[in-house]
């Protein structure tokens, strides 16, 4: 199955979920589980890295939206790293690029997140 999920922390401690492959109705529940785990652990910043994602469907979008809502409720944020134009397009055509902070690289995300108080 062409999907994997890895997690690590940035130097600043912000947890990152790195997805690889196809995130769809079959695999998105794993992303949801992972996100719920981090929410329960008290994270108020989560970064989702979509650099290696090659397919991203509405189920996966729904999971991200759910995560973003919960993060916002605790005055936190859920941001994305998404340099791949094909995947970015899914956010653009649904207008979700205006809801999410989307960065082109981990470095770009790191700088932006550190600037936020």
């Amino acid at each position: 199955m062409n999907f994997s999920i890895d997690t690590y922390n940035m130097e600043s401690g912000v947890p990152v979920i790195k997805l690889t492959g196809e995130v769809d109705v079959y695999t998105a529940p794993q992303l949801k589980q992972q996100m719920i785990g981090m929410l329960e652990a008290g994270a108020n910043q989560i970064l989702i890295d979509l650099t290696e994602v090659e397919y991203f469907d509405s189920t996966a979008l729904g999971v991200l939206i759910g995560g973003l809502k919960r993060m916002r409720e605790r005055d936190g944020n859920l941001s994305l790293i998404c340099p791949n134009p094909r995947i970015r397009r899914v956010f653009e055509i649904t207008g979700l690029d205006k809801i999410f902070d989307i960065y082109n690289s981990a470095d770009e995300a790191k700088i932006a997140i550190q600037l936020v108080p």
Partner: protein, 138 residues
Amino acid sequence: MEAQSEPAVVELRIPCRPEYVGVARLALLGVASRMKFSYDQVEDVRLAVGEACTTSVEWATKNNRADTDIVVRSSIADTKLTVDIIDSSGERREVSDDQDNENEPESLGALLITLLVDEVTVTPLNGGTHVKMVKYAG
């Protein structure tokens, strides 16, 4: 009879379960990439068909019909691809909105399909739903 040659037909039948939606996407990738579509248009077709099958799977789960199949029929004409997605997932009846709305199926998927293909119609069938989508090449 129209003065055009019969479209070629590729028909796929998959179990109406999450793990098989990817098979439909790959088959449609094969179909669309043999037509006069741009790279982006091929991607649109793959995504739209994936969304339609995903909706079928979500309703099948809701209606306890995960033992049924989805039929994905592609009719390939020169510059026109028609894809019929036919499920037996039961009625698509919205339940009253008293639960966590993250579990609502459809809205985002339906929006995506509308944006990705040129025509889409959704028709209830006896025991399921028939989604017909058309994408023009060029």
